[in-house]
Symmetry: C2
Subunit: 231 residues, 2 copies
């Protein structure tokens, strides 16, 4: 006999307690939401909200038809929000600035061709700097497939960044990102105004519209950058 | 008159087209799912799946009661999956190894006290190395609040890592992570077997069980590490 649970946080605590006490062991199917709502004396929506939170923390595996099981290997999930760089800078309360460094039609190096699967095609290559309060914030090195971004060849990208234009004008259906740490090369250090060899946070992103590559970008952030997310 | 849309990807393409063509402009409320399903000649669940994908790409804002609007500022969302380190190493096909470097009860430095809000309390300090195929993979520097992790003081952490034990035994209700790049100090370089000053990918995570801090950990990964996610 359980007393009524008032809110989803209380249900979440009880679900966590059962998992950690092994009353519900790894791999076990747990009771369905309706049964739990009845046991806890609360609405089914309250149970749903609590189970969702525990699943997001990686302790439950929810399958639409097969029900909910205690995870065999807990995997925490964190959601990163990736805004247009101008917006990111402005949200930090800083003044945004932008400078185009290079704009050319070039055959990309092999790793870019392989990542975008564009074979021998010539792509639009953009290098640009983003500033926060006049200091370099991020160095953008981008390849754009004109076939995946109609209209892109008409854009000078002298005042509006490709980062911003593409997000507003070019649809994509899927993408992937990789986050890493890189030592600044001499050229990158000069662009970013830091020491060569400084540890830089790097974000590489590929996007696709169906089977057609849209763009590949590598952003190198000035030293001290960090990316936050809630678990 | 629109012909019937066979699958959610086709609906997604049409939704993206309307957004990018400004038929649906930033801030506009779009038709509800039932109306779109009727227009597209498909099931409402198909529309729901398509709108969810476009919302995850940051182009739509969905509010339960207020309906779905075209985002004013597109923000892409990426989900990171953070597994137990042993599991992460094994999924790369490598042999996992573990070594405890330090285990002590200590008053943490000010930034840790501030992050965990534990005032003057003495916390359990753990430093450990995780290996992949015998090579250092990640250096763990962790503070554990015994009040937030009952039973932790009985754990030697000599063969099982705190990373693994906590995920299995200690509930948490919320947390945050920060990702950054750091230059290896001389001591970190010695532990990780790399050059001092090498660019290291760093993950700092704080977790809480309700109002009580559970743990703060900083993982420094050996050079070359990257973290991937789908957009």
């Amino acid at each position: 006999m359980t007393t009524a649970f008032r809110n989803w946080q209380a249900v979440q605590q009880e679900v966590l307690r059962r998992i950690h006490a092994r009353e519900w062991a790894p791999g076990d199917l747990i009771p369905n939401e309706a049964d739990l709502a009845s046991e806890f004396g609360c609405a089914r929506a309250t149970v749903n909200r609590a189970l969702r939170a525990v699943a997001e923390a990686g302790l439950l595996d929810r399958k639409r038809k097969a029900g909910t099981r205690v995870a065999l290997q807990p995997v925490a999930r964190a959601t990163l929000s990736i805004a247009v760089i101008r917006q990111e800078v402005e949200e930090k309360g800083a003044r945004y600035g932008y400078a185009l460094l290079e704009r050319s039609m070039t055959r990309p190096p092999a790793p870019v061709r392989a990542a975008l699967n564009t074979a021998d095609a010539t792509l639009l290559h953009i290098r640009a700097l983003h500033f926060a309060d006049g200091a370099p914030y991020a160095l953008e090195d981008r390849w754009i497939n004109p076939q995946g971004a109609p209209g892109v060849l008409d854009q000078p990208f002298e005042t509006t960044s490709a980062n911003e234009w593409l997000l507003e004008h070019t649809p994509y259906t899927r993408g992937d990102i990789a986050l890493s740490a890189q030592s600044a090369t001499v050229a990158e250090a000069r662009d970013l105004g830091c020491d060569a060899g400084a540890a830089l946070f790097a974000l590489t992103r590929n996007t696709w519209n169906g089977p057609v590559a849209v763009t590949r970008v590598r952003l190198l952030f000035a030293p001290g950058h960090s990316m936050q997310a809630d678990l």
